[in-house]
């Protein structure tokens, strides 16, 4: 440590170089979103869309589920980008934007479960879906953490958690568009509940990668 604070200031100002483009959370968010959408498109091209997708688009509950899942993905990415700034970009309210889509998403699943009569058949697989979601989420998660690491988060654990939830929702959304499964218990158990696990894992990842 420098002996006097004045010496330190002199040395820091001597090292000051112009900052051409200061970081902006909305630009970071858009960069991540564009990357993730392109990646989702590539995954869907490779794995294919579900065969009955056009028919499913006539179901308001299916559309609401997809819409709210996409909203979770978008708002949590924005929230993570905001959290990567020391002062939360002085827009604290934006951090809480994923709450509403999350509540609406849970409500939609509940209504879909109530209306699942007769219940859609349970698919023979289970953990394979979780493995797929994890694999699909890896790249968006890595990209998001790479972006966030360059900033200076003072809420690194929460930022990590929300970033992984956003990445997991990319995986969930991709699989929902690609897999022919409509069993609500299966979706909750193997698609959506693991998102909580991703969030918890994100707390740890944030502590490890985003602390500065």
């Amino acid at each position: 440590m420098t002996n006097s604070t004045e010496d330190l200031i002199a040395s820091l100002s001597e090292r000051m170089e112009p900052i051409k483009r200061p970081a902006n959370p909305f630009a970071l968010f858009l960069k991540w979103l564009a990357g993730s959408l392109a990646y989702m498109g590539m995954l869907l091209l490779f794995f294919g869309l579900r065969q009955n997708l056009l028919i499913k688009f006539h179901s308001p509950l299916f559309l609401a589920e997809l819409g709210f899942l996409a909203s979770i993905m978008i708002t949590s990415a924005l929230s993570a980008a905001i959290l990567s700034f020391p002062d939360i970009y002085q827009k604290r309210w934006l951090v809480f934007t994923p709450v509403l889509p999350l509540l609406l998403f849970i409500a939609t699943l509940f209504i879909a479960w109530q209306n699942d009569n007769p219940p859609a058949p349970l698919p023979p697989h289970g953990i394979e879906c979780l493995a797929c979601i994890t694999m699909f989420s890896l790249l968006p998660a890595a990209f998001m953490l790479f972006i966030l690491r360059k900033q200076a988060s003072t809420h690194y654990a929460i930022a990590g958690s929300i970033a992984l939830i956003s990445a997991a929702s990319v995986g969930c959304l991709t699989l929902r568009l690609s897999e022919n499964t409509d069993s609500i218990p299966h979706l909750v158990e193997w698609h959506y509940l693991p998102m909580i696990g991703f969030g918890i894992l994100g707390l740890w990842v944030g502590r490890k990668l985003l602390k500065w």
């Binding site: 420098t2 604070t5 004045e6 200031i9 820091l12 000051m16 200061p22 002062d87 500065w212």
Partner: protein
């Protein structure tokens, strides 16, 4: 307060454009802004200065996250709060570690740490071979004549920690001298 923030914001805008003098002024003003905040939360002057320097380094590292378009003070205080909490966390973790060793410290009487059965001068060489902190503590206590409390204040440790360190140094010295 608003005028002051506007002034700091302008300085930072110039600094982000590469103006080194504006940056130096902005950092000096930031130092003046943060010192009262730290003084309220930390008692030791050396500690305040150390944390202040850590905050200034952090502000420098995070300068790309400030665009000069939003108020400066909340940004600087967010970093200050973060670094202060970091410092306090480390401080209390240290404290806990030493608390576990307090039983050991409690067994050390005042004479144990201020009087040794041989002259300091005669074992100066052995003291030099001790870890830096232990050697400094012994030097201050036995060559300069400071009490454990005064040494603690000087080097920014607590008194029990100084006593524990001194006690450990004696143990090592005793063993060394015994072997000789």
């Amino acid at each position: 307060m608003k005028n002051k923030d506007d002034h700091l914001r302008q300085l930072m805008q110039q600094a982000l454009g590469g103006d080194k003098r504006a940056y130096a002024t902005a950092l000096s003003e930031t130092m003046r802004l943060l010192r009262p905040y730290l003084s309220k939360r930390l008692s030791n002057k050396t500690e305040i200065e150390d944390v202040l320097q850590e905050i200034l380094i952090s502000i420098h590292k995070a300068r790309h996250t400030y665009d000069g378009l939003r108020p400066y003070a909340p940004w600087a205080f967010a970093i200050a709060k973060y670094r202060l909490h970091d410092h306090l966390r480390a401080h209390y973790a240290d404290h806990l570690r030493f608390a576990a060793e307090l039983t050991e410290a409690e067994n050390i009487s005042a004479s144990d740490v201020t009087e040794i059965p041989f002259s300091y001068e005669s074992i100066k060489e052995e003291v030099r071979q001790l870890p830096e902190k232990q050697a400094k503590i012994l030097h201050l206590m036995h060559s300069e004549g400071y009490t454990a409390k005064e040494v603690a204040a000087q080097i920014g440790m607590n008194e029990s920690a100084v006593k524990v360190a001194a006690h450990r140094a004696y143990k090592v010295l005793k063993k060394k001298l015994h072997d000789q």
